[in-house]
Amino acid sequence: MPRLPVKKTYKLFIGGAFPRSESGRTYEAQEQNVALASRKDVRDAVQAARSGQPKWASATAYNRGQVLYRVAEMMEARLSEFAGLCSGKEEVERAIDRWVWYAGFADKLTQVLGSTNPVAGPYFNFTIPEPTGVVGIVAPDEPALLGLVSRIAPAITGGNAVVVLASETQPLAAIELAEVLATSDVPGGLVNILTGKRAELAPWLASHMDVNAIDLTGADGLRADLERAAADNVKRVVLGKPDTQSLYEISAFLELKTVWHPIGV
């Protein structure tokens, strides 16, 4: 007997769950109906990120590395599905390798970016990197998958939680990635992915007072306006590259804390 294949409903990823948009709207992208997020979904996602962040930041660096590696494992298992949603198998493999690279850095950050500093006084002076908090990411359109992973991975490696606006024209890879994250020990709320119109959503994310940094890699023509909106609470603005892997991509979302510890008291 012929059977009707079960079609997937593409939804948002907020707080570890897959809700439809609060507005109930959808739009068409890559020949699929995709949820069209509203500003209230942005608000909910930031709230989820804020509540998920402290636990992730206080997990041991080793544990964070393990969880990120697990994401790579889960992606490997879905390689062929991902290949159909971006430029192909090679891009997926590079995205998986990127997760592994960042996973390895989770427990090496502090050693490389931190320092002990010589000071002229009876103090032990040292500097340690700390996550900045909630990071908004305006993801680039190209490459659809690798660009997304290249922006999410460094931010969460450093202990931040993220709210991602997926590519407006190619959102399917982002939703597929959400399904991977949901099954790979990444705590709920750590990564939140919204699909929809960039021009509608990005200003709400950039002006949100509870977002600490914003990555405008995919902002294109909106950049100047978003930077202006971000200035209100002195958000850190990051203009990353869609395809890059570097320790400095991680440190872009970190704060450096310097401590003066008295000696001999």
């Binding site: 930031v46 709400w204 002006s207 949100h208 209100d232």
Partner: protein
């Protein structure tokens, strides 16, 4: 000394004879109606109006064993001007504290219009002899409380000694003198909507100026269906006697959205007359910050965060 109001027709003691008049509550229907009313969508100007009303109706509350004069002083500052950056934000209705902290609150709130509510009558259990409770109330009033939040003796109520409960409320109302009396039913311990309705009518008949859902010390506390049952009891008393009794849900109302749902219910059940701090209060602590956050979002046009408001 204030007299307990004359019992309205049908509310005379002993209660046993009038139980059929009290009627019973249709649990399914009450929950369905409360659910329906909670779906109302309030937008734009109405939303801002409702948020400011909710704020004006708040009893900013701290009832911890660890309360200190410092904490209450900070709470009072917040009560007077909830958002230091915006003088247009109204003050809350009252602060609600334990009796020992009344003098601190009185000093801070003098001349501001913010009232001082104090819990009394062996709060939160109410399991003490009547003279202890009366003394508790007298002391609170003497120290300067404008409003007394009493707890009913649930032990007596649940064992069917309604007359004891009634008598106690009457005596405590006398002890209050000029102070307003709010009667806490502690609905979580009453168990059923029928009991909530019965206790509400009892408290009103005995002279309570307000009926209040909970102490805030138990999980569950105020819910929309429970408030609806209590509002309908208030409505029935008003229809029969013309007397207006106030309502105060307390405990578990943490978001502005939730607070607006409570206000919608009041408007739909009792009408706009009750939408004033004189007849409606919300017992809350964390709710205030959420309301402030929503109001600021409406004012500035972008979302705000918890870090921008004071922790009381």
């Amino acid at each position: 000394m204030a007299q307990a109001p004359v019992l309205p027709r049908g509310f005379e003691l002993p209660l046993k004879q009038r139980l059929p008049r009290i009627g019973s509550v249709d649990q399914v229907a009450v929950e369905a109606r409360a659910g329906e009313l909670a779906k109302r969508s309030i937008k734009k100007e109405s939303k801002i109006w409702a948020l400011e009303l909710a704020l004006r109706c708040c009893d900013l509350t701290t009832l911890e064993g660890s309360d200190t004069p410092g904490k209450v002083a900070a709470l009072c500052s917040k009560a007077i001007r909830p958002d230091p950056t915006d003088p247009n934000i109204p003050s809350v209705a009252a602060v609600c504290v334990y009796p020992n902290l009344i003098p601190t609150a009185k000093e801070r709130l003098a001349g501001t219009g913010v009232k001082i509510a104090s819990v009394a009558t062996y709060f939160p259990s109410g399991q003490a002899p009547l003279d202890v409770k009366l003394r508790d109330v007298e002391d609170a009033v003497a120290m300067g409380a404008d409003e007394i939040d009493m707890v009913i003796d649930r032990g007596a109520f649940l064992s069917g000694r309604y007359a004891t409960v009634y008598e106690e409320i009457v005596r405590i109302k006398e002890a209050c003198g000029e102070a307003h009396l709010k009667v806490i039913l502690e609905v979580t311990e009453l168990g059923t909507y029928d009991n909530v309705r019965r206790a509400s009518l009892l408290a009103m008949a005995a002279g309570g100026d307000f009926i209040k859902t909970s102490t805030g010390k138990l999980p569950g506390a105020a819910t929309l269906p429970v408030q609806l049952v209590m509002l309908e009891a208030i409505r029935d008393v008003h229809e029969e006697t013309g007397r207006k009794v106030g309502m105060k849900p307390a405990g578990g109302i943490r978001t502005a959205k939730n607070a607006i749902q409570y206000l919608v219910q009041v408007h739909e059940t009792l009408g706009p007359d009750w939408l004033t701090p004189d007849l409606y209060r919300i017992g809350a602590s964390s709710l205030v910050n959420d309301i402030l956050m929503q109001l600021r979002t409406q004012r500035t046009g972008f979302y705000s965060g918890k870090d921008y408001f004071t922790n009381d």
